[in-house]
């Protein structure tokens, strides 16, 4: 039987056993809910897409509705004007909350009129209606005094608004995308890397590893385990990304950067590389322990390195995506999985740099796996207490 079949059998077992477990299904459901919720909830809670309705009692001065609409556009607030036949109908509208406010302005603009709310007054609505009424009445006075409509319009033209370094929607979503990528990779490494760790310790603790290793090579067992759990990780990442993209498109919450189609495979690739690196380390360190508590101790150095790499990426890259910190971290296997997708999200890394970084990381994984597999082979059958890396290395020596 080929080694690959043996590795695949191990991987398949992991996928079937863990993929069917309640924990995995719940975590996928929870993730999806979280993603969809984080897009949908703000829309529901703050309702910023919904227009505020303002009632206007008829007859109204000509041009009031149009002026209110123009003004509301300047205030970045959606407003809809609802005409009411009389005061009683308007009050009923306020009471049943079909309108937020009711304006009553004399049709001949002989007075400023009134604005009425159900309970609390809304500053923006008050200013909006006030400004509209004042503008109409000023216009009427000035027109009567012989000022031409063109002059009037010119005088009422608002100042232009500009920014020295304008923040575009794309910038905002890049920043968001970079952060989400780093968090996804960190979460992936922790949740699925630790699944590898606990899996190794469980096999050792239940002694099933002795039965398995009577036919499977230790390095094949480790590889199959990393592979199988990694596929589950990728499935979860896929669900996450699909949920996020789907909800973003449906709710139209923010503009996806033009680089999105290329960024997703890159994110998946670095997820795989980061997971492979860290789960290999966690897997063979787990073999040194004979109990779960020892395993979490043994894995502390890996946890520290992962956290440090994450912070280097988040702080260093966001500060200066092409700075020296970001550049160096690109070529270190532990930090590359965090740094490269972030730099790519900021469009601050070229394809050559990415390729070199991938190559360096793949070599890093290969070296770590070769060392790790031997330590794993030496340690996984020793059940007496916690082993040292060096002893495990020696005991597996040829």
């Amino acid at each position: 039987m080929s080694r690959w079949r043996s590795i695949w059998l191990v991987a398949r077992r992991e996928i079937l056993e863990r993929g069917r477990s309640r924990g995995f299904i719940l975590s996928i459901g929870f993730t999806t809910l979280l993603v969809v919720g984080s897009f949908v909830l703000p829309a529901v809670l703050f309702g910023d897409k919904q227009a505020t309705k303002i009632g206007v009692i008829q007859p109204e001065p000509p041009g009031l509705t149009a002026t209110i609409s123009t003004m509301s556009a300047q205030l970045d607030r959606k407003v809809e004007v609802v005409p009411f036949a009389d005061e009683a109908a308007a009050d009923a509208g306020l009471t049943d909350e079909s309108v937020a406010a009711v304006a009553e302005v004399p049709a001949d603009l002989s007075g400023p009129g009134s604005i009425r709310f159900a309970k609390e007054s809304d500053q923006v609505i008050t200013q909006l209606v006030t400004a509209s009424v004042v503008a109409l009445r000023t216009q009427a006075v000035l027109t009567e005094a012989g000022v031409s409509p063109a002059e009037l319009q010119a005088a009422q033209h608002p100042p232009t608004v500009d920014a020295l370094d304008p923040q575009t929607d794309a910038d905002e979503s890049r920043f968001l995308f970079a952060n989400i990528a780093a968090v996804l990779i960190l979460v992936g490494i922790f949740s699925f890397g630790y699944t590898v760790l606990t899996g190794v310790v469980e096999e050792k603790q239940s002694r099933v590893v002795e039965v398995v290793l009577s036919t499977v090579r230790p390095r094949d067992l480790l590889m199959g385990k990393v592979l199988g759990i990694g596929i589950l990780g990728l499935v979860q990442l896929g669900v996450f990304v699909a949920a996020a993209l789907g909800t973003a498109v449906v709710t139209d919450r923010f503009t996806l950067p033009a680089t999105t189609p290329a960024a997703i495979p890159l994110l998946a690739l670095w997820f795989i590389l980061g997971y492979a690196l860290y789960s290999t380390a966690l897997g063979f360190l787990g073999a040194l322990a004979s109990r779960m508590e020892e395993a979490s101790n043994a894995s502390t150095p890996v946890t520290m390195i992962a956290m440090a790499s994450y912070f280097v990426a988040v702080i260093g890259v966001i500060n200066d995506p092409s700075g020296p910190v970001a550049q160096v971290a690109t070529y270190l296997p532990p930090s590359a999985p965090f740094v490269v997708p972030m730099r790519a999200a900021f469009d601050a890394i070229g394809p050559v740099e990415i390729l070199i970084s991938i190559a360096v990381t793949v070599v890093g994984i290969w070296v770590l796996f070769s060392v790790g597999a031997r330590v794993y082979a030496g340690a996984v059958l020793q059940t007496a207490g916690r082993m040292k890396v060096r002893d495990a290395w020696r005991s597996a020596g040829e």
Binding site: M1, L16, E17, V208, V209, E210, V211, L213, S214
Partner: protein, 310 residues
């Protein structure tokens, strides 16, 4: 045929194996005996490549054992171990596939062996939901499901009730009849005597006795003699120097004699003393052979026997 050749293994200062050599032939059941810490488990681990010997080799069909050969072996380790939360049927099928069976064949073998072990309705149960004895049956089924040519079982009967033992011994006998070589270790020597044709006795990492049980018995220097003489005062034995009295109860006496003792004078004495109802001359039990082999004593007839003979 499995050949274990001159295996030596140290764990730090502890010598686990010190030149152990023996073989197991197809169709024969070999009892692999030895006191605790004698090297049984280490030997088995060396057969499966789970421990690397410092010296010596294990051969299968004349070739050093490699992974391809091990796929034809079945192993039940002393420290039982299966996946606690995995379903029993899938678990059996998984291990059979790891031994090279196709999935469909493995599924069929799993179902067949669960049926054979009386667990046909537990295929979908998780292992941890089974009783200890049933988990042990599953463990044996894991060793058997891929239809191995060699079975290596480390203490397969420990912790089982008599029904469990009967099931297990039936299966082992049946496999041997089908031509499978079986090596199993046990401390239940009466059971070994019932089940095995051959034994290998290991002590302090060395093989101290090996061969067919009957031959070993015949070769042993000691014999049992049970004599019942009615109507004597029991003094007829006094003064006979070549005997060790093990037990005396009423008219019955159990003796240990060397195999070169001439029995005629003894029988004549007994007849003179009274009516002889029993005069039974028997080879030693396996447990005595075992004690004899693992206890460094000069004279076999003077070896401490009282401890092992009830």
């Amino acid at each position: 045929m499995l050949e274990v050749i001159d295996l030596a293994k140290r764990y730090g200062p502890v010598v686990a194996l010190d030149g152990a050599t023996f073989s197991a032939r197809p169709g024969r059941i070999v009892g692999f005996l030895g006191p605790n810490g004698a090297g049984k488990t280490t030997t088995m681990r060396c057969i499966f490549g789970l421990a690397r010997p410092d010296r010596g080799e294990v051969h299968w069909q004349g070739q050093p054992v490699d992974r391809a050969a091990r796929l034809r072996f079945g192993y039940m380790p002393e420290q039982r171990g299966l996946y606690p939360r995995m379903r029993v049927g899938e678990q059996l099928s998984y291990f059979a596939q790891q031994h090279g069976l196709r999935r469909r064949d493995a599924d069929a073998a799993a179902a067949r062996w669960l049926e054979r072990m009386g667990l046909g309705n537990r295929s979908k149960s998780k292992l941890e939901e089974l009783s200890h004895g049933n988990q042990q049956r599953v463990q044996l089924a894991v060793a058997l499901a891929h239809d191995p040519e060699l079975l290596v079982l480390d203490e397969p009967f420990s912790g089982l009730d008599p029904i469990g033992i009967a099931t297990m011994t039936d299966v082992v006998r049946e496999r041997a009849k089908a031509g499978v070589g079986v090596v199993f270790s046990s401390h239940q020597l009466d059971l070994v005597e019932d089940v095995c044709e051959d034994v290998v006795i290991i002590s302090r990492g060395r093989i101290v006795a090996a061969g067919a049980i009957d031959e070993l018995k015949a070769r042993s220097g000691r014999r049992h003699l049970e004599i019942e003489v009615v109507g004597s005062d029991g003094t007829w034995l006094d003064g006979h120097g070549e005997l060790t009295v093990i037990q005396r109860s009423g008219d019955r006496v159990k003796l240990l004699v060397r195999d070169d003792v001439d029995l005629d004078p003894l029988l004549a004495r007994a007849r003179a003393a009274g009516e002889v109802r029993t005069f039974a001359y028997q080879p030693p039990k396996l447990s005595e052979l075992f004690m004899e082999a693992v206890t460094p004593a000069a004279d076999p007839a003077k070896a401490p026997v009282a401890e092992v003979i009830p």
